[in-house]
């Protein structure tokens, strides 16, 4: 669900979403993954990443983001959310997706949304839905 400032989409001029398949980052090291993500964010695009980063990579992404604020004009940080189906799955499905994840070297049952804070005001998340609130 995409909303602007809590209301239905109104006068919005447009925004760009880039899908990033996990295959594009699978063989990259943590540094390169983060560089790639931040490069897209700096182009004012919202990333829909197939899979998710590790917790350590997420922490590093936040750290690198902080290091960039104040050094890159108009960059105020990012909004980040991960949606995962893990909690909803039964044992068999968890085992199956676990096996797929091992083979693919990533958590493909998840989707990560990363957007520049200058465009994305907030990503509201609860177990049932995700809302992308855009800046006015």
């Amino acid at each position: 669900m995409v909303k602007k400032g809590g209301k239905n989409l109104g006068k919005i001029k447009g925004f760009s979403i880039q899908f990033l398949p996990y295959a594009e980052i699978r063989n990259l090291g943590s540094n390169e993954r983060i560089k790639k993500i931040l490069k897209i964010v700096l182009e004012n695009r919202i990333i829909i990443l197939q899979g998710k980063l590790s917790s350590e990579e997420e922490a590093r992404l936040i750290g690198d983001t902080m290091a960039m604020i104040g050094h890159i004009k108009n960059f105020k940080g990012i909004e980040l959310a991960v949606i995962s189906d893990k909690e909803e799955e039964g044992f068999f499905n968890q085992f199956r997706t676990g096996l797929i994840n091992i083979l693919s070297k990533g958590d493909l049952g998840a989707i990560t949304i990363i957007g520049p804070a200058s465009i994305v005001k907030e990503i509201k998340k609860n177990p049932k839905k995700i809302e992308l609130m855009l800046k006015d």
Partner: protein
Amino acid sequence: MVIKIIRNFFRNIFGGLFKNKEDIKLGFYGPPNAGKTSLANRICKDFTGEEIGKVSKIPHETRKVQFKEKVEIEYKNKKMTFKMIDTPGIATKIDYEDFLKYNMKKKEAKERAKTATQGIVESIKWLDDMDLVVIVLDATENPYSQVNITIIGNLVARKIPVLIVANKVDLKNADIKKIESAFPEYEVVGLSAKYGKNLEEFYESLLKLSKKI
């Protein structure tokens, strides 16, 4: 005289054995304005009579990691000594314009934003050095924020025990159950750091968890 010699003998032997044992490094982590410093202050005041840092309604008041050494927490005949580490709130974005709402001048707001970003980097670096972490969450806010999940994920990866605090239970719209259902694998203690409500349960859980280190 003989008793004194024997006492000194044992003191030297056992004192030497435990001399290098450091105090438990207890970190306070969480998003900005959740009440990390308020809780750390409450604990420090209860057991040392001094506070660890300044609190404010303006987010990112704590912009440097703050310490309090040798805080001996005693509850129900159990006692443990901690090194308290209060960390700046972790966020994914900082906009100096948000500080202008608090009647701050532009220059001051920009400086605050700059030091806040540095504080977050410092908080993340300190994750490696903790023995035990209390995650302080605002019970009136949505707990499903990725920052909370990222912090906990990092602590799990480092095998650091975690206690979750649902702070601000004195407020009408506080919802501890929401935090409990967001983090079902963890013990959640609801309290009010501001008014010192339910600190007993917190001390009990903290000392229990300290044994897992």
